[in-house]
Amino acid sequence: MTTTTPTFSSRAVSVLAAIWGFIRRIPPIYPVFFAIFITVGFLNPNYQTMNGIFVFLRRASPLAILAIGQMMVLASGGFDLSQGSLVTFVIVGSSMLLSNDPAKAYSTIGIMMAVGVLVGLINGTAVSFLKIPSLIVTLGMLLLVKGVAMYWSGGAPKGYFTDNFRVFGRGNFENVPIFGKFPIALFIMLVIAVVFYFIFHRTNYGKQVLAIGDNVRAAQLSGVRVRGIRVLTFVFSAFLTVIAAILYGGYGGISTNVGDGMEFQAVSAAVIGGTLLLGGKGSVPNVVFGAFTLEALFNLLNLIGLPKPYRDAVQGLIIIGAVAYAALTTRRKQ
């Protein structure tokens, strides 16, 4: 407001204010992730090397991809709980289709992607047109898809993954400048994150998903084709699940319970990344870091000697806590 030239101190103050404003706008997920990751690094020296960090990121990549798909469904106000059993289906089904023949790797991947699109279409159609709450639809789909995987394999999948199938999940690009090795899974995840960053944050589609999750009625009155957008969102989620499953196949075993509970990991990662359950808010980069944070948290629980099943309990607390926090704070605001 003053017309005199600003003094040094006032300029410093404004610079500081600008920096503070920038810091304040950093989502809490980033400091949380680095705090947990650094703690893990102290407890386990493996994470102090570039190689160790890459191993960590490679393992977290499929979860990040799942979480991006889950986040979009959550942002539209729904849930996709069929993700985990779709992962199982893809892994079991791929091992059946491949029948140890490397030449079939790409056709197998193509078929699985088509199945993913189909599952997403059914989920979305049941929610949009049969008006069943997505929780019930996708839980039913969880049974159905897993049942198909079991039926097909007779409960005990035969065969193993060929190397050219496994390479996506476990392989590295060699001789990459600066890094040396670079995990293929991480590269795929980054490509997907960038593509879906644009799809979700820079297209009409993403804005309409958020609008539906925020206020369905207003979205209809603003001309949004609610049903179509919903179906598309479930298709994206299932499609990304197939890609994540192929990456999981790179390092995991082939079994009929490999995907169990993964849908909840994806929901937890999305919630940690600031996604609002029941819709209206979500961000691709934050959710990617949400997945990293969850993976780091699992490592931390492991290092302090907590049995693996407690991971479920931690996820339950995260989900309830996040929703309770959101419900109680919005009530105070009104």
Binding site: F129, L130, L144, G147, P309, I320, A324
Partner: protein, 331 residues
């Protein structure tokens, strides 16, 4: 529903005055259709062999008991997806504490009912006091229970004593004890809903919490009690299941899909997802439909994995047949 007597307006409306939930007509259709399929593709024993006919009911006991509890919470416009895990916890804890000794039976039963009551209380408190959507809240408690259970028990642990098998296998005359237990639970559920102040309050709260509050009801308490009742029925189902399997394992509840099937049978029994109406007789009809289908699949020798596929399909279609008429967009 046979809850209130309506003055019959002439003999024309006789059937309407009986208030038979429509699900029973559907049950007849499913049964007749199933019997025909049975005669064509199998030995037709579903109708001719009383043992198999009885078996339909025995198979319905586990789902039926917990579905009564699910009906309570759903009439209150809530939902409980944690019942499957409560069943698992019950089964495991019972066989762990009993450890084959008859003298441990009372202790085991007391402990599991306490666990059930506590879970229901926590569910109810999270939903009413923390204002967390019931789906999400009970999904959250499911995860917590699963984590703690799987961390403590990895496989079958302990066993139940011979005496406790009476619940699962005993008979009074020609009638299995378990069927009597189911009937008692359904009757008790009907009595509470149709004849007590609590039942009236539950319908009021589920129908419109605004109207209920304006009439001076303490709606939070009504919902919490419904959740405690629901968890207790899950415990009873768990006791039945473990007495038949003779030992408990952590995957019993989830493999039985009790969460989704109890919701689906309640919905096809005429209790709306939105709450405020329905009753246990309708739910029993829904449960019997699932029992008939289950027995039919056995008769036809359908692969157990294929059964799971059909289950998923049936659940989605069953719920869809009721939601498709709704005008509101689902999410």
């Amino acid at each position: 529903m046979a809850t209130t007597t309506l003055p019959a307006n002439g003999s024309k409306n006789f059937f309407r005055s009986l208030r038979i939930p429509p699900v029973y007509y559907f049950l007849v259709v499913v049964f007749v259709g199933g019997a025909i399929l049975d005669f064509i593709f199998a030995d037709g024993q579903m109708v001719t062999n009383p043992a198999i006919l009885t078996n339909i009911f025995v198979r319905s006991v586990a789902l039926g008991i917990v579905a009564v509890g699910q009906t309570f919470v759903m009439i209150g416009a809530s939902i409980d997806l944690s019942v499957a895990l409560v069943i698992s916890v019950t089964a495991v804890m019972t066989s762990f504490i009993m450890n084959g000794q008859t003298e441990n039976v009372p202790k085991a039963i007391a402990v599991v009912f306490l666990i059930g009551a506590f879970t229901g209380l926590v569910n109810g408190l999270i939903i009413t006091k923390l204002k967390v959507n019931a789906f999400i809240a009970t999904l959250g408690t499911t995860l917590i229970l699963r984590g703690v259970l799987n961390a403590t028990f990895a496989n079958f642990k302990g066993s139940i004593p011979r005496s406790f098998e009476y619940f699962g296998y005993g008979r009074i005359g020609p009638i299995p004890v378990s069927i009597l237990v189911l009937l008692v639970v359904v009757l008790a559920g009907w009595f509470v809903l149709a004849r007590t102040r609590y039942g009236f309050q539950l319908y009021g709260t589920g129908g419109s919490s605004e109207v209920a509050r304006l009439s001076g009801l303490r709606t939070d308490r009504v919902i919490i009690i419904a959740h405690i009742i629901c968890s207790m029925t899950a415990v009873l189902t768990g006791l039945f299941v473990v007495s038949r399997l003779r030992a408990g394992a952590p995957w019993i509840g989830t493999d039985g899909v009790y969460d989704l099937e109890s919701v689906a049978t309640t919905v096809i029994g005429g209790t709306a997802l939105a709450g405020g109406r329905g009753g246990v007789w309708g739910t029993l009809g829904g449960v019997l439909i699932f029992g008939v289908l289950d027995t039919l699949f056995n008769q036809l020798g359908i692969n157990p994995f294929m059964k799971n596929i059909l289950r998923g399909l049936i659940i989605i279609l069953a719920v869809a047949s009721y939601t498709i008429r709704s005008k509101r967009e689902a999410a």
